[in-house]
Symmetry: C2
Subunit: 323 residues, 2 copies
């Protein structure tokens, strides 16, 4: 590790991720527009977003070693692109999650029985969510297509193409060992993560404030979630910094697991909010509203379960469990 | 222990509980009918039920040592009395539990704010539950008062008065040591409990089938609950058998804790069913139905939490956790 220079490690990582982004962009362009290859196009977007997140995280953590102005501008543009491409996928995933939960909640428990009489509220709630989330998804899809044809996007793609061959690493830092100049920055990111986890608000127990959240939109249900979402982003930064350092051992399995639970947390929180939003639809039948209430509570329960799972990984010896 | 005869232990325990029952009945009669002493009357009924449960459990576990025909008849009458007196209390407790949960669920999470705009659904759900459960409670109260004036009740009270001075213990068994004739029966009760716990259905996870249960009334949500309620009764039988044997050490703390969680389980399951029943009220507003759905899910979550807590006591070393 001491023999690798910061220039080699940092530029190497950025070059690799930029090449991956360009490759997935090409794959997307080849496969988009045909129903036969829609799955390939979707997968290409997933890989593209994965590379964009890594570039963005690297620009953030190792900014002192890079051209700061360029890094800031490029990071903002990459964030715009990732956010735009994430939305369509997020609505689709949210709908699947909610329909699966409704299925689980309304399945007749004896394992047989047609269940035709049961689940009228669940069926209507499912149809309502499908309508609402499909509409959002379609809009996100159109917005993403428009963006991929825009001058702004082409500027980002050009920037990535440059990054695939050269990265603007500070000349003096580039000569020094990666362990001397990159590791302290990776450790700083790790310290930020630890502090954010320590500052996580202790939840008042599963489902508290659920109804206030359902009716008010702006509540600490969402407020607490935000602190957790921030931890999710910080875990990623630490993982990407470790990758850039080529140090993917030790902690990293725990970090991957932590990321998994924090993603689950984010998905469940989003799904709970979508169920609550659907519950505010005017003139729905009481049975539909009832099912959406159960669904909201179910997803908030998932939020709590994900927090608990994260805490078990974070405090494996049972010290000071959160939630 | 070997020096105590079965007659002394068994008759002594039954005499003591019968005397307690008569004392609480007298206290109830002295305090009922006046608003000033309503709390004393309620407390007297609680003590009365406590003694009735112990007598009933003892008649069940140690039936081979008693006049079997008498024990069966008397047990049925005591069961009738306990059930009747329990109902009023159960409705009151269920209402408090549900209103407390609604309060927790709809409290604005930021700790201040009047919350006047929020919680309209929660407020209406609370009012609906209050109406429905207060009506049930009032009916149960009237039924209990009628029963306490009935010839059937006076026959039970006469039976208890006899039991307070003499218990029909089999003459041969009465001479033998309690450890020889009572302990095997207590161990049999304990074995029954262990088998019932081992046979508990593994839950498909919190909240599964909640919506089916809300709309169908007869489902495995209730079906699984029944097996757990049975375990609750068996834990009690074992505790009372230990009390009768004068052996209240060792396991008994764990059994008291287990009882606590199983009571919590029963209360939460009853509250969830009441929320679901209220959710089926015709012509309620969607916001009310939504709040009742959240409340139902919240109480099913409590059911799961109580099961988990029971399992942690039952399998303290983490072997084969249920749920």
């Amino acid at each position: 590790m001491t023999r690798v220079t910061a220039g080699e490690a940092l530029a190497g990582y950025l070059n690799g991720q930029a090449a991956e982004l360009l490759r997935s962009l090409r794959l997307h362009d080849e496969n988009a527009g045909s129903a036969d290859t829609a799955a390939e196009a979707t997968e290409a977007i997933r890989v593209l977003r994965r590379a964009a997140r890594r570039i963005n995280g690297t620009l953030h953590t190792f900014r002192p070693l890079l051209d700061a102005d360029w890094a800031e501008r490029f990071s903002a543009e990459l964030g715009w692109l990732s956010g735009l491409l994430a939305r369509e996928y997020a609505y689709a995933a949210r709908l699947s999650r909610l329909l699966a939960a409704l299925h689980r909640l309304s399945a007749p428990a004896d394992g047989h029985g047609s269940g035709q009489d049961s689940g009228i509220g669940a069926a209507r709630a499912g149809a309502l969510l499908e309508r609402q989330l499909t509409l959002s998804r379609t809009r996100a899809h159109s917005a993403a297509l428009r963006a991929l044809g825009s001058a702004r996007f082409h500027a980002v793609a050009d920037g990535v193409a440059v990054l695939a061959s050269e990265a603007p690493v500070d000349a003096k830092a580039a000569e020094r060992p990666a362990s001397a100049v990159m590791r302290p920055l990776a450790e700083l990111a790790h310290r930020c993560l630890i502090e954010s986890v320590d500052a996580l608000p202790l939840g008042p127990g599963a489902l508290a404030h659920t109804l206030a959240a359902a009716e008010e939109r702006h509540t600490t249900e969402g407020g607490h979630d935000t602190a957790w979402h921030q931890v999710r982003r910080l875990v990623r930064l630490v993982r990407y910094a470790q990758e850039a350092l080529g140090a993917a051992g030790g902690d990293s399995t725990a970090l991957v697991l932590a990321s998994h639970h924090l993603n689950r947390h984010r998905d469940a929180a989003g799904a709970a909010a979508a169920a609550a939003a659907a519950g505010r639809t005017p003139r729905i039948a009481p049975a539909t509203a009832y099912a959406l209430g159960v669904l909201h509570a179910d997803q908030r329960h998932e939020v709590e379960a994900a927090r608990l799972a994260f805490c078990r990984i974070w405090h494996p010896r049972g010290e000071a469990a959160h939630g």
